[in-house]
Symmetry: C2
Subunit: 478 residues, 2 copies
């Protein structure tokens, strides 16, 4: 850094300190440590500083200051992203803007089925606040105890209940956004229907913090379910899972909240990770479905599930099943879904993917992709699970145990490329719910048409002509 640059940086940081106070601006490397890595342990470099504004007005002031001084910004939520989109750049020149102090529930209107929240609210707290008004905010993620609403919006989060309630995009009615020059776009309407011209809010949903910083949102609530039933079923094939899904959508009358595909290997991984888990059925089956139905009123969900199970068995789609008859039993069944993730983590470095194909193509895709991957690496282990109703698979790969640690990354990268080639034949997506960030940028760009790239870059330039806001995510900086 030149003397002139150092002096400019000092001026900039002094301005921020004056604005936010000592508590609002962290410059000490120890204090900044928890802002530089995410859930997966990814880490690129230290930021210039970490700003912790406490209000929308403070966020706007910080952004205006960055805009004026030409300082790059990394908006940051709960560090649970999976594509390194919210990590400060390696060059040490970016200011992290953490939303963690914007954590107020501003308003709950249970009659309108809406709540207005700060972007830094933790998802679990939002769900809890809704529940206190007999409402439900249905977004449901593994990271809900730490992820923030602003991050959910920036990444258009998905999760377990998309099947019934949609992605984050369908759960947001209004937004308040600080644009890259510090101006505030006021779009905090609590209207269920509004067709006034272009729907600007849609652009921010899923833009991964590259077009502005979401500071507030109006969320759409549902009535809180008063009952739910869970079942774990054993099935002979992925095709049987797909066929059962079509039947479940009909027989369960839109009351289906989850329909998760789980391979036998994941049941084993779950039992490894949580030894008190016992094999859920007498026999083992190649594929399992963990499904849940929920209702807010007087419907006999147990009977619905039993009827589905019965006709599924008649059609030889279902081989066996465990129906939870209490909340405890239900929690035990969900324990398999959670422990299998822990089981994977314990295997160390492995390939995590997040892909989607049409539901009707899932069986063929799993078969062809497995053939290609096993041909390329006969000793690897494939673990394909996912949200069937969304066509969303986490087709993950554990590398051969015999492979040296140093070679794993390159080997897995090679397998990912083969996998994505199969995916292209199915017109699938390389990122169904995690986004692009930095991690998925190369395969994203490789598949982006010149026309689409032009439009995406045009939108970025329209909102952020100086290229300061979360630069290098989605599109590279140039």
């Amino acid at each position: 850094m030149s003397i002139q640059e150092v002096s400019m940086t000092t001026t900039f940081l002094d301005e921020l300190t004056a604005l936010l106070g000592e508590r609002g601006l962290l410059r000490d490397p120890d204090a900044m440590a928890r802002y530089v890595s995410d859930w997966a342990g990814d880490r690129l470099g230290m930021p210039l500083a970490v700003a912790r504004p406490a209000t929308t007005a403070e966020v706007a002031e910080v952004v205006r200051c960055c805009h004026q001084h030409g300082v790059g910004m990394t908006p940051q939520g709960g560090h649970s992203g999976l594509v390194a989109g919210a990590l400060p750049a390696a060059d040490g020149q970016e200011l992290v803007i953490s939303l963690e102090r914007l954590d107020r529930v501003r308003d709950i209107d249970p009659v309108n089925f809406t709540m207005t929240v700060d972007a830094g609210c933790i998802l679990e707290n939002v769900k809890q606040a809704a529940a206190e008004h007999d409402c439900d905010f249905p977004l449901s993620l593994g990271a809900q105890g730490s992820c923030q609403i602003g991050g959910n919006i920036a990444t258009n989060a998905g999760g377990l209940n998309v099947l019934r309630y949609g992605m984050m995009r369908e759960l947001v009615l209004g937004l308040e956004v600080v644009l890259p020059d510090g101006r505030v776009w006021e779009g905090l309407d609590a209207l269920h229907k509004d067709n006034r011209g272009y729907d600007l809010q849609q652009l921010f949903l899923g833009s991964e913090g590259t077009l502005g910083i979401v500071t507030g949102a109006v969320l759409k609530l549902s009535p809180r379910p008063t009952q739910s039933r869970t079942a774990l079923l054993g099935l002979p094939s992925v095709q049987a899972v797909i066929d059962l899904y079509g039947q479940a959508r009909r027989d369960c009358c839109d009351l289906l909240t989850a329909f998760e595909l789980i391979p036998r290997r994941c049941i084993e991984l779950a039992m490894e990770a949580t030894p008190e888990l016992r094999d859920p059925m007498d026999d083992s089956y190649p594929w399992y479905v963990l499904m849940e139905v929920a209702a807010t009123g007087p419907i006999d969900l147990g009977e619905l599930l039993e009827q589905l199970l019965e006709s599924g068995m008649e059609r030889e789609l279902v081989l066996d099943g465990a129906l939870a008859s209490s909340d405890t039993q239900s929690a035990q069944l969900w324990q398999f879904r959670e422990s299998m993730l822990e089981g994977q983590r314990r295997r160390g470095e492995h390939l995590r993917t997040d892909i989607s194909v049409p539901i009707s193509a899932i069986a063929d895709f799993v078969s062809q992709a497995s053939d290609v991957v096993m041909a390329a690496s006969p000793q690897c282990e494939i673990i394909a699970y996912g949200h069937i109703g969304d066509g969303n698979l986490h087709f993950n790969i554990l590398p051969p145990t015999t492979l040296a640690d140093a070679d794993k990354k390159a080997h897995l990268h090679e397998l990912e490329e083969r996998l994505f080639e199969v995916l292209d034949r199915f017109k699938g997506s390389i990122s169904a719910e995690h986004g692009i960030g930095r991690t998925k940028q190369a395969p994203y760009l490789a598949r982006l048409s010149p026309l689409e790239r032009e439009l995406v870059a045009g939108i970025k330039t329209l909102f952020d002509p100086k290229g300061l806001m979360n630069a290098g995510r989605i599109l590279p900086t140039e």
Copy 2:
């Protein structure tokens, strides 16, 4: 027109004729007549010509030709828009591009719950094609026998079932769009989940044909309901309607497909228009709710509705009710909803509005708005009905019968301004589902912040730098 202009126009039209053939380009005023007015009878002027391309490639060629010659374009669907957005400009210089010949269902995938259609498909035909595969395309509008999918997309159509299935935005998974320079954006993915960068498709939904011409779409289907039940209930107040709605959302377990507010005056208008309709209950009530539940599986809907009615009566929200016990009876109840529109039409010139407020504010809004309007025009008649679950009211006004026809328009315009001032206090929308087009442009612009206008104009310029595509709709030309 100068000689040079005439000669350029001739060259342009000759090129189009060569491209589309005689059948594909109408230049005769008689043949063009049906492309110059819409359902409401609005009409501005004749176009230069009417192009009727039959394929996406032909649409692209026509648009490229317009782009090259600097000719303005009016994309056109089924003429059922309500804001004059698809009518050619008065100056006679625009080319109408009708999508009516792009009317193929390209593909139905009932396992993926999707279908791929040309933009010119009529909504009713799409619904029929879905039904043949035991699926449902749930968008439901009065105009469904004539409106086209492309128009539904361009206007982000709403209608009767938004409560359960969402607006058109939530029913579209992929789009194919001819951009204003003739290039084709290929976004026809049939993926339920896809987070690859900015979601460009969201921009076209609701952009009213100003950013490009939608030529194809992947639509999201639902399982086809196998049963439904309808009820017409009499209630004492709008607040009782709101309270019952909250209870119905819970007690009916997300199976609610419609919940329509109808004032007594509309029941009378319906009976005037359709004399064979008899008063639905022994007594008359100030407000009615027409509601419907539907299910795809074995749930006793009649029991659900009866329970709701019973507890509604206990809470003195519901005063009386008629439950349809057959499809014929159900159709009779829906006849009130349809005939009341016809009854309004027969009253001649009247103010149609399409506004939304938070559901929790509906009762207050109706009360305050009625007071303001009646104070300004004691002899007018207010007819406020709408989709309660969406906070969407058609707060319509019949002018005093004593008023001279020539004075009605100005009088109603004045009342609309008063009404919108009340709406502003409730942070409502002047256009919940109809869009802006030309008709709503003045009140839209009056409420648009400079920042928002800058962003909207920036997006328009990004996609259509020459300003040729449906110019003057949403934003004015300048």
